[in-house]
């Protein structure tokens, strides 16, 4: 496929006895945001480091824009930009000086730099902080400056390792909006996150757990892998409600939330009616009961439990 910018197959990486990345297969197209989504220890950082050409792999192949990253890591470095979790900003330099420094490293011409700098600072809402020392920026601003530095040249592929971790929600949204503006310009973005809800912001995602791939595809397809659906029942005493529903037929999982219960059921329409009738009959108080969209976390837990069950049966 001509618009395939990243092609990864059979990628495996071991650290001593730990398999950090286990037989990953995925691709990314031109102008696409692909999310590497999973909890700590899923192998996200290792994968990004290998793609950036700074960590050798044990097995498999990685092509970026048709070039073999594992054999010739230097050949792709001009096409990619990689922002690790700890991005090297100079705290005693100002915002503009940091950007200028990275522009020089990437050999960006002065006119291009000036134009790009203005654009990036504007998009991230940082225009008025251009003379502030990087060390005096908030966490969210530092991440945004990191991205601005990583983007001062125009890479074909941008690799971002957990850019939104611990960042306030407003900055988090701005980061995503910057990423999408790049995507609309044709840049391919690989972004890792431990926030499962952020999976919904990606066009496609690789859901990862302990080095392995649980799912690769669109968020919509991911949710359709969950058999059944999720019901939400309002209650001022979710724990009591949870006990009342324990062991009921068709209930796969019940989770007590702060002001209600979330239950994963096999047949949402049918169970909704059944539960309502049962609560009415037994006089258990409950509030609003309705079907809600499954979250990525619901699906993640479902997939892992399914796999554990299959492993037991084998």
């Amino acid at each position: 496929m001509s618009d395939e910018i990243v092609a990864v197959s059979g990628l495996t990486k071991r650290f001593a006895s730990v398999v950090a990345v286990d037989d990953l297969n995925f691709n990314a197209r031109k102008g696409e945001i692909l999310g590497l989504v999973g909890p700590d220890g899923a192998g996200k950082t290792t994968t990004l480091r290998i793609l950036a050409g700074i960590l050798p792999a044990d097995m498999g192949s990685v092509l970026v824009a048709g070039q073999d990253v594992l054999r010739e890591p230097e050949a792709v470095k001009s096409r990619i930009s990689y922002m690790p979790q700890q991005f090297g900003l100079y705290e005693d330099l100002t915002v503009t000086e940091n950007i200028r420094f990275y522009a020089d490293i990437f050999e960006v011409s002065r006119t291009v730099r000036q134009q790009r700098e203005a654009q990036l600072l504007e998009a991230s809402g940082m225009s008025r902080f251009r003379d502030r020392l990087a060390g005096q920026l908030s966490g969210g601003m530092k991440r945004k400056l990191g991205i601005a530095c990583a983007l001062i040249h125009t890479p074909q592929l941008l690799l971002l390792d957990e850019p939104t971790t611990g960042v306030d929600p407003v900055s988090r949204r701005e980061l995503w909006s910057i990423l999408y503006s790049l995507v609309f310009e044709g840049v391919t973005v690989l972004v890792s996150t431990a926030y499962l809800d952020e999976a919904e912001r990606c066009q496609r995602l690789l859901l990862m757990h302990q080095g392995r791939s649980l799912f690769f595809g669109t968020p919509t397809d991911l949710k359709s892998t969950l058999c059944g659906g999720v019901l939400s029942i309002g209650s001022s005493n979710p724990q009591a409600l949870q006990m009342a529903t324990a062991g009921e037929q068709g209930i796969l999982r019940a989770t007590a939330m702060g002001d209600g219960l979330h239950i994963v059921v096999d047949d949402p329409d049918r169970r909704l009616v059944e539960l309502r009738e049962r609560f009415d009959r037994t006089g258990i108080p409950f509030g609003d009961i309705r079907r809600i969209p499954a979250s990525v976390e619901d699906v993640f837990v479902y997939v892992i439990s399914q796999q554990a069950q299959e492993a037991r049966e084998q």
Partner: protein, 317 residues
């Protein structure tokens, strides 16, 4: 859940030199309640917890925990609370059992209670039979439950959890919250800080904190309602890039962002169902496939409640 307040916080303020980390915060937590402080890094959550544990002295204002003043009776406070930090503060080169014995000694758990509580903690953590494993070799979920066990060996009435599930996998996170709900049912008051918006849904009540200030307080459902002078529309359309650029100029639209193959468009709820939106997009050569009203998330609520303040304050620093 209807008990007397076991945590009372009044006008609590903490200054570090010229920086106000916590700015006149007031709230109460009832006995047996799970109360969440939700906010981004640096919003003042941990500073509040540290003051309530008697580890930091407030600059002004007052707080009591199970009736004891946190500034003047810190020793008493500490006897009645458990504290679990985000780093789990376990000794990696000790076994699970040795960690529990260490914390039991620290909290003065003795006699027949000692073995009973340690056995209870091992069972709760799912570590019975693996008590001789080195803590450093346990996975995140086990460690987390071991840390929880260590924090409650002395049966505290109040439990403080500071970012307890950062980076733990969702399965373990679910199990962890199950345990927390159980403790609350037994009457333990729980104060938890988190910056995971979705995790806050596990709390009975929440305070949204931004830059040291409480911006909203209530049940998760109530907070979402509070924030909703905006409603969220899911708009599936093509091409997305152009749609994003023009939709912000549509009448009634407050904000828009891309979610995979669709836009989330925040609109003025009073103007729903916004019948002119499809025509507006069509006139800009955007094909609309589907529009659906979706429930706002806590993150939507947070953004709408804090909004521009983040920037105005930053500029004023």
């Amino acid at each position: 859940m209807n008990g007397a307040p076991s945590i009372v916080v009044e006008q609590l303020l903490k200054r570090f030199e010229s920086f106000t980390a916590v700015n006149q915060v007031s709230f109460q937590v009832r006995s047996g309640e799970i109360f969440g402080l939700l906010g981004p890094n640096g919003s003042g959550k941990s500073t509040i917890i540290r003051m309530l544990c008697g580890l930091l002295t407030p600059s002004s204002g007052a707080a009591t925990v199970v009736g004891f003043d946190v500034a003047r009776q810190a020793e008493e406070v500490r006897k009645h609370i458990g504290y679990m930090s985000q780093k789990f503060s376990l000794y990696n080169d000790l076994t699970a059992l040795e960690n529990l014995q260490f914390f039991a000694g620290l909290y003065g758990v003795k006699g027949s209670a000692l073995n009973e509580r340690i056995a209870w903690a091992l069972k709760m953590a799912g570590l019975a039979g693996s008590e001789r494993s080195l803590t450093g070799e346990l996975s995140g979920g086990w460690k987390q439950r071991l840390a929880l066990g260590s924090a409650v060996l002395h049966r505290p009435q109040v439990l403080f959890l500071d970012e307890p599930t950062a980076g733990v996998d969702p399965l373990s996170r679910g199990q962890f919250w199950e345990l927390i709900h159980q403790m609350a049912r037994e009457g333990v008051t729980i104060l938890v800080t988190t910056h995971y918006m979705d995790e806050a849904e596990y709390c009975n009540r929440l305070a949204l904190i931004n830059q040291g200030l409480i911006v909203a307080m209530g049940t998760p459902t109530k907070i979402k309602q509070l924030a909703i002078n905006g409603a969220i529309l899911l708009v599936e359309c093509n091409p997305l890039g152009r749609a994003l650029a023009v939709v912000k100029q549509a009448p009634g639209v407050i904000d828009a962002s891309v979610f995979g193959a669709a836009l989330h468009v925040a609109v003025d709820a009073a103007r729903l169902p916004l019948p002119e939106l499809p025509a507006f997009l069509a006139s800009h050569e955007v094909r609309v496939d589907r529009i659906e009203l979706i429930s706002p998330s806590l993150e939507d609520a947070f953004v709408s409640l804090t909004g521009d303040r983040t920037f105005s304050d930053e500029a004023a620093e």
